[in-house]
Subunit: 389 residues, 2 copies
Amino acid sequence: MNEARRRELLAIYRDGLLHNTLPFWLSHAVDQKHGGIITAVDRDGTIVDTDKGVWQQGRFAWLLGELFNQVEPRGEWLEIAQKTVAFLNQHGFDPTDGRMWFHLTREGRPIRKRRYAFSEAFAAIAYGELAQATGNDQLAAQARQLFLRFVQHKPEPKFTDVRPTREIGVPMITINIAQQLRDSIQLPEANAWIDRGIEAIRRYHVHDDIACILETVGADGQRLDHFDGRTLNPGHAIEGAWFIIREGQYRNDAELIQLGCRMLDWMWQRGWDQQHGGILYFIDVDGRPIQEYWHDMKFWWPQNETIIATLLAHAVTGDPKYEAWHREIHDWAYRHFADAEHGEWFGYLHRDGSLSSTLKGNLWKGPFHLPRMQLTCWQILESLFPTEE
Amino acid sequence: MNEARRRELLAIYRDGLLHNTLPFWLSHAVDQKHGGIITAVDRDGTIVDTDKGVWQQGRFAWLLGELFNQVEPRGEWLEIAQKTVAFLNQHGFDPTDGRMWFHLTREGRPIRKRRYAFSEAFAAIAYGELAQATGNDQLAAQARQLFLRFVQHKPEPKFTDVRPTREIGVPMITINIAQQLRDSIQLPEANAWIDRGIEAIRRYHVHDDIACILETVGADGQRLDHFDGRTLNPGHAIEGAWFIIREGQYRNDAELIQLGCRMLDWMWQRGWDQQHGGILYFIDVDGRPIQEYWHDMKFWWPQNETIIATLLAHAVTGDPKYEAWHREIHDWAYRHFADAEHGEWFGYLHRDGSLSSTLKGNLWKGPFHLPRMQLTCWQILESLFPTEE
């Protein structure tokens, strides 16, 4: 990547984060009264539902804490992160079993708990950043406890035991959460859990014979010739790919970097929409029809994750293929998702890039994938590319 | 409606049912080995997933039984319906609690049970038709027992009790299942349950002040200013409308007919896509963005239900508005959903009518809404319109 392009991209990501994405959420979505963030906002920031997603509280506090720790110790960021964690401490946990809720009212009354413990995972990294920012040991202990609850959680089964399955989501998120907590609180178990996560993906989900990452497999990693087993989620696999490339780069482990790049290569080939551009949401491993209705839509986050993965792969390997892919996905995504009028990105487009919804957030979309992409790509461009200076 | 149009439509529905829809399923989807039907088929009838939905087993056996009882006592129809009910008897029930499963393997091993008891509802009408066809009292008793299990079922809560809600689905399906069982087995409780279903819809879901049928309301019918409470499902409300118009016609009750027509009027106004045609899947009561990703897609069944509702409303009231609406939805749906090459209808289109998926069936789509529309409209055209003879 030449220096002009590096500087151009760096400005896009850094300034986009600090002067566009972050102000969008800070000015429209922070709940001054109860703490935390209300993410269900329309394109201009108008709140359309006051309910609060617990994932988004953790993710937002993580982002502000990470910015405080990595970018600049701004008091405003720390204060809002602390109020968000205080809201979680007060309302995020079900006292009857200690588990976290998924969906709360604005005031913090519980609406829904889910089978999985991703609320705990995203809270863990928030508590971890605040522990680092403040030196508070109790927050660090809470972060570790939340992490262990996440990785040790056995979800209530949705299905009988007739056809047991494995999903890539849990090992993948485990890797990322452990990486974050290794940085923020020097989590002692981090490397062991990262190893386990990578091993689970390699053993069960990486299928060399068909050059594919399978999202859902049988208990021993076998292919399941049913809708669920054939449905690929390329953006998800590519997100996992960059977690592994980053681990390879951190450990200086060429084999891990190769694994992550192989995952990226395969899923780019399958997931990139040759006709319209962008990463498709779901595709069938054999090209058969998909059961999920939104299979051919373009969501914001698979594009965010692919922008990170291609830039990181280029930085780490120097392979010009990844620079070309990065340019393709970056340009397509910014052209279609970025809202020039009100800032931030739209979340939901049709296959051809036309708008499906004006929502900027809901229980699933909030200040996470886009600002994480902006921050991560800024950091990659600053630290991993040789400069002329 | 003039006689030429009546005859033209009658041929489309009758011949479509007998020479297109029914042969599609009978030739591709009947499981000769294990009994029942495999509905996950691609556009040419190729099976893409061998798993079986329990809803679809009941609906298919109901259809064949209804055809046997109403159209012609063909031995083939009865035999396949009986094999399907035998499959349900053998594999459809969880012996530990007596409840029905939702999703089975081809051989009948259980994969999933759901919170709601719609499997029981659709099985009830299947057993009812077979009881009528064979005079078997035990089947009639089973049909009644399944109906009572459905209406008395208290689903496990998905949410806490902080914001209790009511959905229109249960009272609506109750009306239709009770109507079917009144015809097939003279269910003694039918009228009482139909009254309760209509009363629940009228009291909680019909909101005159905003001319709207709300899909999800608070426990006392109040509007909930959150995504769920604002999300309208016009096809569903229109399906409920024709169940009520039919009841009004059966009872010769002008007030019920007016109620159903009002529901149809309001939800046609809200759900008909002025830009592309067809009935939209979800719309927001206030025109705000919807959380469900497929909100602006066109599914087959809202079109089927609207074709029935508009034709029935025209037959019962003589209002030419309904004939015009029927022509609009009939023409749009046949132009976009019917598969001229392989028969049956596609299930999932984008908003503009372009194809999203080639699937002809899955756990949710099978031989039900389309053939029920064809049969019901055929019957309406034969019995409810004055002819020149």
